[in-house]
């Protein structure tokens, strides 16, 4: 098995940098959660890895899969790798599936292209895959069209497509966000199990920290197109060092049953994610950060501490409880760092 390595990835749109200096690894068999609010650059990073950036978007840096460079690879080579060694599950299965082709044909496409399976072998493999993603009556479902399936079923089909060639690395971009809330847990459990069975590496892009805490070994936090923190998920979520991760965790914990029990305000992250290219110079989070100091006008270098990396001039220390404000201030809703600031329309 091989892993994925991203070094100094930059994605720009006509010279405007949207993703800057992004480096992280997804080792063989490892599960990494990529977290951050919408607009932090998570999806762009994934699309750059897959070589699927839209018109006008350019990627620089190094992305290697088992040592093989992807960014510089010719399209023909990428076509060989995608769907075979590396594959991706998209957020919106309704648009990621071809509405004019039957489920079976779409699930079998990669096996046909990469493994040369035909006819009965292909049919058998497809039915087996549909069964493994727990679709009822796989033979019948193989003959249906995407519109005849529910959202959750479509996402199961996407998963069957993604794992059909047993890839080394699976990228999942908000795989449950477009689904009915009660179906989300089932789909995540299935993803968890499939990744387990196949032993493939997973890069899970999500803003759902509960899911990350349950499925991922390591976490990478992105904000403003940069990686601001990374490390083992229990450590990062348990004692975040970057004020942005700390704010995300406090907000997320408050939104679970571990949050405040009584009616009152929940903690929020002050302000909102600015439009692309409108982040402040230096640390992108400094205009929303309660711990900002004058040095923050310059982008901080990564501070390393074993497995943990944080890019902050004034990180949250282990002995302060600012990160876990929820735990500390539980009794009184008024004690939360409440921000009533609305988002600015763009």
């Amino acid at each position: 098995m091989t892993g994925l390595s991203v070094r100094d990835l930059e994605v720009s749109y006509h010279g405007l940098p949207l993703v800057t200096g992004v480096s992280f690894d997804v080792r063989a068999g490892e599960r990494v959660g990529l977290i951050g609010e919408s607009g932090s650059g998570k999806s762009l990073t994934a699309l750059a890895i897959m070589g699927l950036l839209g018109v006008g978007l350019v990627a620089h840096g190094r992305v290697t899969l088992g040592g093989e460079e992807l960014l510089a690879a010719p399209d023909r080579r990428l076509c060989e790798l995608r769907g075979d060694r590396i594959s991706m599950i998209f957020q919106e299965p309704a648009t990621a599936l071809n509405p004019t082709r039957r489920i079976g044909a779409q699930v079998g496409e990669a096996l046909r292209a990469h493994r040369g399976l035909r006819r009965r072998d292909l049919r058998r493999a497809v039915v087996d895959l549909l069964g493994r993603v727990e679709l009822p009556e796989p033979e019948r479902y193989a003959r249906l069209y995407p519109h005849e399936l529910s959202g959750g079923q479509r996402q199961r089909v996407m998963m069957a497509m993604a794992i059909s060639c047993r890839p080394d690395v699976l990228l999942a971009d908000e795989p449950t966000t477009a689904l009915d809330a009660t179906v989300q847990a089932k789909v995540i459990n299935l993803l968890d199990r499939l990744v387990d069975e196949q032993g493939c590496a997973l890069l899970l892009i999500t803003h759902d920290l509960a899911v990350v805490s349950q499925t991922c070994d390591r976490v990478v936090t992105m904000y403003g197109g940069r990686v601001v923190e990374s490390g083992p998920s229990a450590d990062v979520l348990g004692a975040p060092r970057h004020p942005y991760t700390a704010a995300l965790v406090a907000t997320a914990v408050a939104a679970t049953l571990d949050g405040p029990a009584r009616i009152g305000h929940l903690p929020t992250i002050p302000g909102s994610v600015p439009a692309e290219g409108r982040f402040p110079s230096g640390c992108p989070f400094r205009d929303r950060c309660g711990r900002a100091i004058p040095s923050c006008t310059v982008m901080p270098a990564d501070r390393r501490d074993g497995e943990r990396v944080v890019a902050c001039w004034n990180p949250v220390a282990d002995d302060t409880d600012a990160a876990l404000g929820v735990r500390e201030s539980q009794p009184e809703p008024s004690a939360y760092p409440v921000s009533a600031q609305p988002e600015d329309p763009r």
């Binding site: 609010e37 919408s38 005849e148 009915d180 809330a181 009660t182 179906v183 847990a185 803003h207 759902d208 920290l209 509960a210 899911v211 805490s213 349950q214 998920s233 229990a234 450590d235 990062v236 979520l237 348990g238 004692a239 704010a247 995300l248 965790v249 907000t251 997320a252 914990v253 408050a254 939104a255 679970t256 049953l257 571990d258 949050g259 405040p260 029990a261 009584r262 009616i263 009152g264 305000h265 929940l266 903690p267 929020t268 992250i269 909102s272 876990l324 929820v326 735990r327 539980q330 409440v338 009533a340 600031q341 609305p342 988002e343 600015d344 329309p345 763009r346």
Partner: protein, 278 residues
Amino acid sequence: MTGADEEPSLLAARDVSKTYGESWRGRSQSRERQALAGVDLTVTRGETLGIVGESGAGKSTLARLLLALDVPTRGSVRYRGRIVSGRPERELRDFRRHVQIVFQDPSSSLDPRMKVHDLLAEPLRALAIEVDEGEAVRRLLDRVELPESAANRYAHQLSGGQRQRVAIARSLGPSPEVLVADEPVSALDVSVRAQIVNLLTDLVLDTGLTLVIVSHDLAVVRHLCRRVAVLYRGAVVEAGETEEIFAAPRHDHTRELLAAAPRIRARGVGPASETVVG
């Protein structure tokens, strides 16, 4: 009749059942499906009620019946003591004005061809509410903490959180007594979700709005609702004070829902992490 010392019932479902008929072609499922079976539910003035349950429990069906958007197979829905279920639309004008709804996904509930100003003014025009439109729109935007400039935007020019603010503002236009919100935050990012929960909290605390939240998200219901009704397979299996029920659930299904609620389980996070069953 309601006694003077009792809390007046504003909106009430009495023994409502709903059976959906013939399945659409292509599906080989059974002919009829009972979505709700004999549900009794009372919403009193100024209360905050959460209706929780898993997918398919009948939550949205119950919400549609409470809003008189669908007709129960049996039983009735009353607003201020008068039956509203099954009434023709022309007799529901008063009801429509006073009982408003916020949907889950503002991207699909807001007309993409209308600017925010018109989205907010439309219910006022439709219900023939005589107000200074510009002033009313400004007041509504202020109420949901959006800048005045948002009035000239289209929904697609706003973020998800801003769109849900517009949807809430639209429902507040006719000064409703009751707001029914069907999964109002589940389509939103976690940080934006907290902002919308806080906005709804303010509305309840400041204006005494009666709020009915339909949600699978127990945490959201706990933040917003003093009372909760747990739906399971079309029936209310448990109802009462939210704090009491969450602290000591009596029905197995309530216990299951509480156990299945998402938690951030990394060590050291959250006050209850040591009690979380892994």
